[in-house]
Every structure is written in C-alpha cells, then in structure tokens.
C-alpha cells in the first residue's frame, strides 16, 4: 500500500470539504449521499425504461404503437390484451382440446427426444399453437443441455485439477492431420464420411501406439485447460455452416439432440473455467483420506467433491441456463420447423411484408424475460457471496 499524503487541517476547511466530510468511518456525508443516490436512480431508470417500454408495448394495439410515443397506460392509451390473445389463444387451433393434444404430444416427444434421429416423432403440425411448442422446446433444450454441459464440464474440470495428464504433442499433431485428411477426402473425392472417419480413427490408434511412444514433447494440465477455455474465443459464425452440413449428413438437422449438443459445447469452456477454480481450491486432504478408505475416483467425485462445491455448481448452472435460454444463432441456422425455440419466435414477428408486429413481439419477449429475471435474482445472490469471483482473478 502506497503512502497517502493528504493535507488535513481541521480548522480551515473549504466548503467542498465540509460538504463531503463523512460524519464517521463507514458512513457517508449527506451531500455525497445525495450524489450517489441520484446517480444510482438515474441508472435504475436507464435500466428499467427499455423493459418498461417492452411491457407496455405488449398491451398496445397497432394504432397505439403507430400514433407515436404513448407512455402511460389508461392515460395515453387504452391497454388491450390483443397481442397476448393473438399469441396465446386466438390462433384458430388454440381451443382447449387442441392445446391438450399439443401438451400430450409435447410430453410424448420430450420423452423420446433423444431418440429423435431413430424414432419418428409424432407429427406436430407446426402451424398450431407455435408459441407453446417453442416454449416447451426452449425449456426442454435449455434444461437438458445445461445439465449435460455442467456434468461433462465439471468432470473435465475436476480431472484437470486433480489428475496429471501428459498428452504427447506428436500424437495431437497426428490427430489434427488425420482430421484434415478426412475432411479433404470427404469433400473433394466423395468418400462417405463414416468410412473415412472410421479408417482415420483406426489409423490414429495404430500410429499413436507405434510411433507415438517415441515422441518426447508432452503437454501438461495447464495447456489442456487453456485449450478448453480458449474455445470460447471461436466465433460461432465460423462453425455454424460446417455444422449445418455435418448435421445434414447424419440426419440430425432440426432435432432436439443437435441443439442440445451444440449449446452444451458452446458453453463448455465457461463451465470448465469456473468449476476448475472451485475444485482447485478444495482441500485435497479430504479426497486423499477417502482414497485411503478405498473410495473410487467416481465415488470421491460424486459423494465428496460435488456436495462441497454446491454453491459454485448452482451459480454455474444458472448462468449456463440463461445463456442457453437466450441462444439464437445456432437455433436460427439449425432449427427450421420442429425445434423452433423462443428467440426464433421473437424474430419471427419481424415479418417482411407487414413490418415488425411490435405489440405481438413484445408479448413474446415478456414471456421470455420473466423466467430470466427470476433466475438472475437467484444468480445475484450467489455472485454477491463472491462465489464466481475466484475464477475471474485468474
């Protein structure tokens, strides 16, 4: 800590000093208080105004939107439920019976969604009650993807914090070259993708066993961790077109499984990064004594380590859940009909010929925002306890 040199003369204080002088340590001067609270109030207004505007617009009709700015319901304009009705009930098929059927189909399809490439889903006439379909899709995809991502990510993070890995640099180069060869073969000479990848995989294991043992240079855990985290730098636009072609080749286009896997991978770096920090900070003695008592690695991980990191786990899960809930780029490229998610519904209100149907779009956006606000309230409770700070410190 540097020395702070301040002239302090209690007798001759300027007006500014008197105004900003705190009455006691840990308190604020009245004038400072006014300044601070007014800044906070201005910022609260700045934060809340767009949300307020979205909410009131969802209760406007076309006329109230197009007339010009109308700020206060019941005074400036007469609120209506038109937008909500159009979205949620006024669809010609949205009577009770078809909603019930829809819910049944959704339940049925969510159960077998993992098998969707192999088992044909019941046809879901996409023009019916799109919003319910999209909402359920969003819920199913984001929850399952989050659980999957957190499970895979925290396993990897734990392993990187506790087990020493020494992948040979040469083996990695062989692997990358083989991927390159497979890609070139498949695109330019038309060999089926499964054949070339099977051959390449076999070749890799053969080469790794034979030549691989002669390589000296190897990477450490820190390098693997850095590699995993650095995947976040990858702009999604780089991978989305190849992924489209890839999913088309294996018939996974427009399925839940495709989006679940993609969302999980996109957020894997965050999970690994945050969870690695929690695991690395746990006292290792607990695990060592459990190991002496004959517990397996999986047992230790599941019964000792996971419960200890519960706050961090919960915070990470919430964060990933929100990110998945909001994801748009992958969804718009890879989900065309069956697995449309909520962000696509929002964007769909931007129709080409009639312009943007602001009031309808705002109703959908409000539905999207409500769960997110609840989650962020939960999440801030964790963050305020400093749960996620450790990772940021690097």
């Amino acid at each position: 800590m540097k020395d702070v040199i301040v002239k302090f003369d209690p007798q001759n204080r300027s007006l500014m000093e008197r105004l900003f002088e705190p009455p006691a340590i840990g308190k604020m001067a009245p004038f400072t208080k006014v300044v601070v609270y007014s800044f906070l109030a201005i910022w609260s207004f700045f934060v809340l105004f767009p949300i307020y505007w979205v909410i009131i617009t969802s209760f406007k009709d076309a006329a109230a939107v197009n007339q010009g700015p109308n700020f206060i319901p019941f005074i400036d304009f007469q609120p209506t439920l038109d937008a909500w009705r159009i979205n949620f009930t006024a669809d010609p098929y949205c009577d009770i019976a078809s909603i019930a059927r829809q819910i049944y189909l959704l339940a049925h399809n969510s159960v077998i969604f993992v098998l969707s490439p192999f088992v044909s889903l019941q046809p879901m006439e996409p023009q019916i009650c799109k919003i319910y379909l999209a909402f359920t899709n969003s819920v199913v995809i984001s929850i399952i993807s989050t659980i999957f991502c957190v499970a895979v990510g925290s396993m990897a993070a734990y392993a990187l914090a506790r087990i020493q890995y020494k992948p040979k640099f040469g083996n990695i180069m062989i692997f990358v070259l083989l991927i390159l060869a497979v890609t070139l073969m498949t695109t330019y000479s038309g060999i089926p993708w499964w054949m070339s990848s099977a051959v390449a995989l076999a070749l890799f294991f053969f080469l790794a066993r034979s030549i691989g043992r002669h390589f000296k240079m190897s990477l450490g855990n820190g390098d693997i961790l850095f590699w995993m985290i650095s995947q976040r730098i990858l702009p999604p636009i780089v991978v989305v077109v190849p992924l489209y072609v890839m999913f088309q080749a294996v018939g996974l286009l427009d399925t839940h499984l495709a989006l679940i896997l993609l969302y999980a991978v996109a957020n894997l770096p965050i999970v690994v990064w945050l969870m690695h920090d929690f695991f690395a900070n746990l006292p290792i003695e607990l695990e060592e004594s459990a190991q002496l008592d004959g517990a397996t690695r999986f047992g230790i991980f599941w019964e000792i380590v996971m419960p200890l990191t519960r706050p961090g786990l919960a915070a990470t899960t919430l964060l990933i859940l929100v990110l998945n809930w909001n994801e748009y780029l992958f969804a718009v490229f890879l989900a065309t009909v069956k697995v449309q998610t909520m962000p696509i519904m929002v964007a769909a209100k931007n129709t080409g010929e009639k312009g943007v149907l602001w009031w309808e779009m705002c109703a959908v956006t409000v539905v999207m925002i409500i769960p997110v606000i609840i989650m962020s309230i939960l999440l801030t409770r964790f963050i305020s306890k400093g749960v996620l700070l450790g990772a940021v410190k690097g």
């Binding site: 800590m1 702070v4 301040v6 308190k27 604020m28 400072t32 601070v36 906070l40 910022w43 934060v47 809340l48 105004f49 767009p50 505007w53 979205v54 010009g68 700015p69 700020f71 895979v152 396993m155 990897a156 392993a159 087990i163 890995y165 990358v176 890609t183 330019y188 995993m228 995947q231 976040r232 730098i233 702009p235 636009i237 780089v238 077109v241 190849p242 072609v245 896997l261 991978v265 397996t296 690695r297 999986f298 909001n326 748009y328 909520m342 929002v346 931007n350 602001w358 705002c362 956006t365 925002i369 606000i373 989650m375 962020s376 801030t380 963050i383 305020s384 700070l389 940021v392 410190k393």
Partner: protein, 386 residues
C-alpha cells in the same frame, strides 16, 4: 476395522484403490484405473467433434468455391482467392473500407506506429525465447497491418469497412462499458442502503435475450414513434435521423450494446471491490484521505487483475456482436454498422459460402491475435504483479 491387505504391491497405484481386489470388483477396479480418461474423454470428444472439426472443415469452405447442386454441395478448390478478394478484390471496400488517397497525417501516424512497434520488437529481441519471439512478431505484424488500415481509411478521411467497424465496437464499446460499469460498481460498494436491490436491478439487462434487446432498442431509438420523439422535438431535432449517418449509427449501436453489457462489468467489479479488505480502506479514511485518493491508491491496485480479466472476457464476447446491428439497422446505412459476423452472414445469404467462411476465418484470426496479445502482455503481467 481391519482393511484387506493387498497381496500384490503392483495394485497399489495412485488413483487405484487397494480395496478393489476381491473378484466381484474387477469391473469397478478397471473403471477406477481408467478414471482419468473417463473424466476427460466426454469433454474432449465434444470439443473435437463440434468445435475443432467444424473449424477445420470451415477452412475447406474458405478455400473452395461452393455451389448448391441437386445432391448437396459441390466444392471446387480455388486456393486463397476467397481471402484475396477481401483484401485486394471486389470486397475490399466492404471489408477494409476505402484506403485510396492517404493523407499526410495518415502517413505520419503510420510511420510513428511502425517505428514504435519495431522498437518494441527490437527491445524484446535479446531476452525472449524463439517461441515468444514468434508470438511477438505475429502481434507486431497485426499491429502494423491494423495501423496501416487505420491510417489509410479513417485518418485520411475515408470510410471504414467492417473490419474497423468491428474493432470500433470492441475498443470503444469496451472502454465505455468498463468506465461506466466500474463507476457504478464503485458507487454500489459505498455503504449505501438497498445495495442488494441495486445489484439485482443492474444485473438484469445482461440476462435479457440479445435479440429482445435488439428489438427493444430499435423501438426505443425510433425517431418518430419512440419515446425520445418529444425530447428530440424540444431540442429542435425533429428531422434528425441517427440511422442516416454512419457514425451516429455506430454510436447508437455502442450505446445499445452497453445497456446489455455494462451489468457484466458492474457485477464482476462489484464483487472485486467488495473483496478489498475493509480495514485498508478504513485505515486510509482515518488518515484523512479523500475518497478519490482511496480509490486510486488503495482500492484500484487490488482490483486491477480482476479488471483486466473482465475486460478480456468482454472483448472476446464483443468480437461476436451480430444481433444488434442486424436488427436495428440491417447493417446500414450502406454497410457502415456491419460487424464482421454480420458481414459473413450477409455474404452467406448471397450464397457465396466460400467468401463467408473466409470472412469468418479472418474474424477468428483477428480475435485470436488481439485477445492473445492482450492476454500475454497485459493480463499475465498484471496477474504476476498482484
């Protein structure tokens, strides 16, 4: 309780339980011995299949002319022509901006940049290993290239392309968001009432879907039907349209982007500020230091490592900006608010998959070099200092 004593000492290995000898536990023991692979294999496989492979595959796109035919895509190898097009060919105006008449000011500043970069490279020549030297050369090359484009386009009074629009969003956006976010965090770290309320409130924008933010901002920024119409009227600016001039449109983008991302800086910096030991601050207060001095000399040095890391994360995400310009202006006027991601998407929509992949690759290279340079020269040194 007596534990079974292992007969064979080979069985006692790190990560291998000595208890797993009995015959029924073969499978369990085998699993446990390979636990290391099982733990990390799913993550590595997922990343390989869904991140590394598509990245390499994207290179094939970038090196080909891609056509849609009846039975799928047809690739024809064209070398680096898709990349060359962005720098010298038909898309040069779009990507780099107009670089033609270079003004005297641009020349002078470019010379200064080149000399500074080369001096920096020369100074690290003696101490650095060859790997580090390679990294520094790449950073230096990127700096000189970006400096040249900056001097030839913006500083010579020419229009800028999507490359510098993206960099403008990243650099200017990060600066604005960091300044305001840190300021708010500092205010909230004072002993005020309702701190938790403000914390939750200020955090919310980050969590709203970027798409929704884009549409909400488009509504609000509308000069005829939006809420600012009366204010503009009072100021006598009824005829002013922000989306008509390139720079005002870019500034509006940054403001709207800031609405969403200031909370991120805010929440991280607040956590960091609250982590600063209370007694240091109080000791300074007892000594009669003003709050400005306390912030500069006591608090700030302790939060710098967090600050640079947060900036790095923010910059990484900022390079991916797409939703806001897409929704608010559609990249207009002209292509002046297009980020590189959006540029790539529009080229993709025009069915030029090869160029689209090439632009995406250029974005990847730009992001990696800029972020890696920032990480190596700023973040690491700050973390080491702390």
């Amino acid at each position: 309780m007596q534990k079974p004593v292992p007969q064979n000492t080979k069985d006692i290995q790190p990560g291998n339980s000595p208890a797993g000898i009995s015959s029924g536990d073969k499978w369990r023991e085998w699993c446990d011995r390979h636990a290391g692979s099982f733990f990390i294999a799913p993550a590595v496989t997922l990343i390989l299949i869904f991140a590394i492979f598509p990245t390499i595959y994207s290179m094939v796109f970038a090196l080909s002319r891609v056509r849609f035919t009846g039975d799928g895509l047809k690739f024809r190898y064209v070398g680096f022509r898709n990349f060359a097009k962005q720098f010298f060919g038909s898309s040069e105006m779009h990507f780099l901006g107009r670089t033609e008449p270079v003004s005297i000011l641009g020349m002078i500043i470019f010379a200064v940049i080149v000399v500074t970069v080369l001096w920096w490279l020369y100074r690290s020549w003696k101490t650095a290993t060859w790997v580090r030297m390679l990294g520094r050369s790449i950073s230096a090359a990127m700096a000189i290239f970006l400096g040249w484009i900056l001097c030839a386009s913006l500083l010579s009074g020419n229009s800028i392309g999507t490359l510098y629009t993206t960099l403008f969003y990243v650099l200017f956006g990060c600066a604005v968001q960091f300044a305001i976010g840190t300021g708010l965090a500092f205010l909230c770290s004072q002993p005020i009432r309702g701190r938790n309320f403000f914390r939750v409130l200020f955090f919310i924008p980050l969590m709203v879907t970027p798409l929704g933010v884009g549409f909400a901002m488009r509504m609000i920024a509308d000069v005829t039907k939006g809420p600012f119409e009366p204010i503009l009227g009072l100021l006598g600016l009824q005829d002013w349209v922000w989306s008509a001039s390139p720079w005002s449109a870019r500034f509006v983008m940054v403001i709207c982007d800031s609405w969403q991302w200031i909370p991120f800086i805010f929440i991280c910096m607040l956590a960091a500020l609250e982590n600063v030991p209370r007694d240091h601050v109080e000791a300074a207060q007892v000594d009669g230091a003003s709050s400005f001095h306390i912030f500069r000399d006591v608090t700030w040095p302790q939060v710098v490592p967090v600050a640079v890391t947060v900036l790095l994360i923010r910059a990484i995400e900022a390079f991916k900006i797409m939703d806001l310009p897409n929704i608010m202006t559609g990249g207009g006027p002209g292509s002046s608010t297009e980020s590189m991601t959006l540029h790539s998407v529009y080229v993709w929509r025009a069915n030029d998959l090869g160029s689209s992949a090439a632009i995406a690759y250029l974005l990847l290279i730009l992001t990696v070099v800029v972020c890696a340079s920032f990480f190596n020269y700023v973040v690491l040194s700050q973390i080491r200092k702390a």
